[in-house]
């Protein structure tokens, strides 16, 4: 933290808690940087526990060579999965939000941004 200065010991612990990296999503959040092996065993939570192929990162943490593109997660998760992805309400509020996205791997950039 650069703008708030932890003064007492509890504040130091609060800073540690909020700035700790979220371990579960390390592999999926690597973005543009080259894939790196996360420290220690990395076991993502969620659907990957049932070994749905293509959902998770590969054994190096990379996402390029998966049988399903990572972008498909959006659909996999909020339709068929017990782990609900955060998506707009397609029944009432935004029925057409994916209408321009015919093939997720190719068209995912065209998914509309929806504001509540």
């Amino acid at each position: 933290m650069r703008h708030l200065k932890a003064i007492n010991r509890k504040a130091t612990r609060v800073v540690q808690a909020v700035t700790a990296p979220a371990g579960d999503v390390v592999a999926l959040q690597q973005g543009a940087s080259p894939p790196q092996q996360p420290e220690g065993p990395h076991i993502p939570l969620g659907c990957s526990l049932v070994f749905s192929p293509g959902w998770e990162a590969d054994r190096n943490g990379g996402t390029a060579g998966l049988c399903q593109p990572v972008e498909r997660d959006l659909f996999d998760c909020h339709l068929g999965c017990f782990w609900p992805a955060h998506v707009p309400d397609q029944l009432n509020h935004a029925p057409d939000w994916t209408s321009k996205c015919a093939a997720a791997q190719k068209d995912w950039r065209k998914i509309d941004l929806i504001f509540p």
Partner: protein
């Protein structure tokens, strides 16, 4: 729209710096100017993120306001109005909760007759009529109390035995035999035991002082100040004042017992309330290292009870003495106003309490007859019994107590920013005022908040001007 509003905290300033005391985390953060401006902009209004940033941006063209706001959100000083942080879960501590301290009421007899005494006055809880309780704890009960403490201490490496009364020294023989016994037991179990004792000091002899010093027993003397104040309430049964009797004894105690700080404990009443005068008399003239003050526990309306104006005056005097503490601490020296140092330690550690004190949790009181109760103030009361030294701690009764007294049940406290430190206040005070230990002590809320604010400011000043002073509270 998703609007941002202020989270729960108490803002205070010290040494030209702005701070937040966050609730319920009890974290203390210092704000930079931009963070302070963001907090100010949300005072009494709610804004969207963009509006808030836009409102503050002109004054801080170069600041990374977005990052500042994110940090304020992370520590929950600012948050979405529509999505307040989840309520703090009600967690009842796991039992068996290890026992840290046993307070042994070695006698309920006293050679003084202080008008305000909670044990014998009109507000008493425990039946102290003749024959209802043993007058003195026996050797056997004292040893069983020590056994219970070790047996229930779990993984604690250090346990504490407190001697209390009545007047503790009226049962000095038992006390003097149980101390070596407890040391033997500690050695056999690979633990350490520490002792402390509270006394009115009128029965201290040279022999006793030697014993206390040799055995490293911390001593607290109940004393109300200079002669005219001490003798106002702390009198013998015939009405004679006790000041002249205790003074030479206390002086000898302070001279010979150097291994532990000797503290004075002052009871404030409507008649005895000159805090600065009392403090300087007890430290400068008598030589106590620590002085702690507490308002008398009493039902309202008693002649000696502190009224509204009494509390106001008390806070004003506490403030003056606390200012003295601050100046002394900034200079890196010790000041003996223990009400401040105790609160500073809790602030430093970031204590956020679900229960006001350790009573019924890590601390229990044991009556002369061997009943285990919440604390020494309830020892001997059947209503507040949590077991006995022979049958052990009644864990069922303990859990029931903990469930009933959790902060979550004190609705009045839920919007108060001082609850991490106060948590509703003393059970005994509540029982005396409201007839039940479950009631929060609403009669001194304003005072607690004002006092906590004073201590937070001192903490902030020290954090800016002499942070090294605060490292003493690390352990």
């Amino acid at each position: 729209m998703s609007l941002l509003g202020l989270g729960e905290f108490h803002a205070f300033g010290a040494a030209g710096q702005r701070f937040l005391y966050l609730v319920p985390s009890a974290a203390v953060f210092a704000l930079d100017d931009a963070a302070a401006a963001l907090i100010d902009a949300l005072d009494n209004q709610r804004l969207s993120r963009d509006d808030l940033l836009a409102a503050v941006a002109p004054r801080f063209p170069d600041a990374a306001l977005d990052e500042t706001l994110t940090e304020l959100e992370q520590v929950r000083a600012v948050g979405l109005v529509a999505a307040p942080p989840p309520p703090t879960p009600t967690i009842i501590p796991l039992t068996p909760f290890p026992l840290t301290t046993a307070v042994l009421n070695v006698t309920n007899q006293c050679n003084l007759s202080c008008a305000y005494c909670y044990e014998y006055s009109e507000d008493k809880i425990v039946d102290t009529t003749n024959g209802a309780q043993p007058k003195f704890m026996s050797d056997e009960t004292a040893r069983q109390s020590v056994d219970l403490l070790f047996r229930e201490s779990g993984d604690n490496a250090v346990v504490h035995v407190s001697f209390f009364g009545g007047e503790t020294l009226m049962n000095f023989p038992v006390l003097s035999r149980v101390v070596p016994y407890a040391r033997e037991q500690a050695a056999a179990r690979g633990k350490r035991v520490e002792f402390n004792l509270t006394t009115n000091a009128t029965l201290l002899t040279s022999e006793m002082i030697g014993f206390l010093a040799d055995h490293d027993i911390a001593v607290t003397v109940s004393i109300d100040g200079p002669r005219e104040m001490q003798d106002r309430f702390r009198v013998f049964h015939d009405g004679r004042g006790s000041y002249d009797v205790l003074l030479p004894r206390v002086r000898e105690l302070l001279r010979r017992h150097r291994s532990r700080p000797i503290g004075a404990r002052v009871t404030l009443t409507s008649q005895v309330n000159d805090i600065l005068g009392i403090y300087h008399h007890l430290t400068d003239e008598i030589g106590f290292q620590e002085v702690g003050f507490a308002p008398v526990t009493t039902s309202p309306g008693r002649d000696y009870a502190l009224g509204e104006s009494g509390f106001d005056q008390m806070v004003a005097e506490f403030k003056a003495l606390a200012d003295e503490f601050l100046e002394t601490a900034v200079a890196g020296r010790h000041h003996g106003f223990s009400n401040v140092s105790e609160t500073l330690e809790e602030i430093h550690k970031g204590v956020s309490k679900a229960y006001p004190c350790g009573a019924g949790l890590g601390l229990m009181g044991i009556s002369t007859g061997g009943d285990v109760a919440l604390c020494h103030r309830f020892a001997g009361s059947d209503e507040h019994k949590l077991g006995s030294v022979t049958d052990g701690i009644d864990r069922g009764a303990q859990v029931a107590f903990l469930e009933r007294h959790h902060l979550a049940n004190k609705t009045d406290c839920h919007t108060c920013w001082a609850r991490p430190l106060c948590s509703g206040g003393c059970y005994h005070e509540a029982h005396t005022r409201y007839g039940t230990t479950t009631h929060p002590n609403l009669h001194y809320c304003d005072w607690i908040r004002e006092w906590t604010d004073i201590c937070l400011r001192i903490y902030g000043e020290l954090a800016e001007r002499n942070p090294a002073f605060l490292t003493q509270f690390d352990s």
